[in-house]
């Protein structure tokens, strides 16, 4: 078998198998009478490795043999194929976020006073990790509770220039249908189709 053909069969085998193959496994693909010598296989592997220069895959030798692997430089975009679909934030999280936005700086205790239930530590962690809230100080009372405020990232995400762009509490209260009566103007980020559906669902929830 000429080397070019051998190289292709080896590439075919490595990609079909998807894992590493030893030289002897590669040789066993062939009938005895046309089985390439070990040296031939190694030469073909070396040539294949060179072929891969500039391609998305590289040929590497590992403990159990040789394998074609996707180069690490593509790890970031390609890893996104496995990314999980984002879930939805809970009502509790949104309420907590809104209270921090409107009443900042505010302690967990104060949030609890309004919501009537304890603040889930997981919510505060999620909001902090997202970069939307941060601790800006402590109230100098026993326990020194943390004071929470929203961040610039929070404003940026919601397309607000400042907290003043949020409707006033009074304005909010008078509204039967937020979507219709509020003129969000340039302030609102353009909602994705999925987000619109989510709002519609949220609307129904609040009406109930």
């Amino acid at each position: 078998m000429e080397q070019m053909q051998l190289r292709k069969v080896i590439e075919a085998a490595l990609l079909a198998w998807g894992e590493s193959l030893s030289v002897s496994q590669l040789r066993e693909m062939f009938d005895e009478n046309e089985r390439p010598e070990e040296a031939e296989v190694r030469a073909a592997l070396a040539a294949l490795a060179e072929d891969c220069a500039g391609r998305a895959v590289e040929l590497v030798e590992v403990a159990s043999g040789w394998r074609l692997q996707v180069r690490a430089e593509f790890a970031l975009p390609v890893s996104r194929l496995w990314q999980e679909r984002p879930g939805r934030y809970s009502r509790a999280l949104l309420e907590t976020l809104a209270l921090i936005a409107y009443r900042q700086p505010i302690t967990r205790g104060e949030i609890e006073d309004v919501r009537g239930v304890a603040v889930n530590p997981h919510i505060v962690r999620t909001l902090t990790e997202r970069g939307w809230i941060r601790v800006v100080g402590h109230r100098e009372v026993p326990g020194r509770p943390e004071l929470l405020s929203t961040t610039r990232e929070f404003l940026d995400y919601f397309g607000l220039r400042g907290l003043d762009d949020l409707p006033t509490l009074a304005a909010l209260r008078d509204m039967d249908n937020l979507g219709v009566q509020l003129d969000f103007g340039t302030v609102m980020p353009v909602p994705e189709p999925a987000a619109v559906a989510a709002v519609a669902a949220g609307d129904g929830e609040s009406a109930g």
């Binding site: 490595l14 990609l15 079909a16 894992e19 394998r67 692997q69 996707v70 593509f74 790890a75 390609v78 890893s79 990314q83 984002p86 934030y89 009502r91 976020l97 809104a98 936005a101 409107y102 009443r103 900042q104 700086p105 006073d113 309004v114 919501r115 997202r130 800006v136 100080g137 402590h138 109230r139 100098e140 009372v141 026993p142 004071l147 405020s149 995400y157 919601f158 397309g159 400042g162 907290l163 003043d164 949020l166 006033t168 509490l169 909010l172 209260r173 937020l178 979507g179 509020l182 969000f184 980020p189 909602p191 994705e192 999925a194 987000a195 989510a198 709002v199 949220g202 609307d203 609040s206």
Partner: protein
């Protein structure tokens, strides 16, 4: 009797219902050690082969098609008497051999007999030209319909398919990372949540509905942050001239509010000295105070 497990591969394949081989070199069945390379030309089939033979058929339509094809006749012009006679012979053999005979085979036998008898009836030429359908029409239709799907199945089997003909190319990804997508939220969603929580809270506590000076709240957060690392900050440095009178007012109100809430302290070294601000200092012995408070409460 030959069990399927003992059969050499070609026979087993035939028994599994693989397409009947037409090439002469492929043995169709092994009978008493001798390969049978062709379908029997006449009705005599060695009994050992008959079972294999009959199992290779997918029912009466398949058997009929085989007989028609073997006789090289057009499906549209079946010699019905001949075919019926052969078919009955197979049925009789199957029964003699105690082969499990599917009911469909008997049904077909009845249908063939009926067609045969109808064809023997005298017919006027006009009638056959006009309305009266050829008694074989329904059978021919069914045979053709079956044959086209038999062909379709063979074509399907020939399509290059995964595992057998093509393999998906795969390669390990080096350094795969876990990427988590964060949920999307719209401002509207958050406002609705807020409206909700305020309405609920209004049932329990009195919330002042006065215009919320949100710019003041924002400034309060900013001042607290500014004081976080700096320690003492000159009072005047918290004001920015470029914000104008409104900005100065907002900052001043924010400072008053922070003072009222006890979050910051004003420090003046001596009368008329510049004012400095700092975050409220925790009491000298916070732990002690805390403990005291706890004791008091309990």
């Amino acid at each position: 009797m030959i069990g399927n497990n003992d059969l050499p591969e070609p026979v087993a394949a035939a028994a599994e219902g693989a397409p009947l081989p037409t090439q002469a070199e492929m043995p169709f069945a092994i009978v008493e050690g001798e390969p049978v390379t062709e379908m029997p030309r006449d009705l005599y089939i060695p009994p050992q082969a008959l079972e294999v033979f009959l199992e290779a058929f997918e029912g009466p339509l398949d058997l009929l098609l085989y007989m028609i094809r073997r006789q090289n006749v057009d499906i549209l012009d079946i010699p019905i008497a001949d075919i019926t006679r052969q078919y009955m012979e197979y049925i009789r053999l199957m029964q003699e051999l105690d082969l499990e005979l599917a009911g469909e085979y008997l049904l077909m036998a009845a249908m063939l007999a009926e067609i045969k008898s109808r064809m023997l009836l005298p017919r006027s030429q006009e009638a056959s030209l006009l309305e009266e359908e050829d008694p074989r029409a329904e059978l021919v239709r069914r045979l053709q319909e079956y044959e086209r799907f038999k062909l379709a199945a063979e074509n399907l089997d020939r399509l290059p398919r995964l595992e057998r003909d093509v393999h998906q190319a795969r390669a390990e990804l080096v350094g795969r990372r876990v990427v988590r997508l964060l949920p999307e939220v719209t401002l509207q969603e958050m406002l609705l949540a807020f409206k909700d929580v305020v309405q609920r809270a209004a049932m329990f506590v009195h919330l002042h509905v006065a215009r919320e000076a949100l710019s003041v709240r924002q400034r309060m957060s900013e001042v607290l942050l500014a004081l976080a690392d700096a320690g003492l900050v000159p009072f005047v440095r918290l004001f920015r001239a470029e914000e104008g009178r409104m900005g100065v007012t907002v900052t001043f109100v924010a400072l008053l509010e922070l003072l009222r809430e006890g979050l910051i302290e004003v420090v003046q070294a001596e009368p008329y000295a510049p004012l400095h601000l700092r975050r409220a200092q925790k009491p000298a012995d916070a732990a002690a105070v805390e403990e005291m408070t706890v004791t008091t409460v309990s």
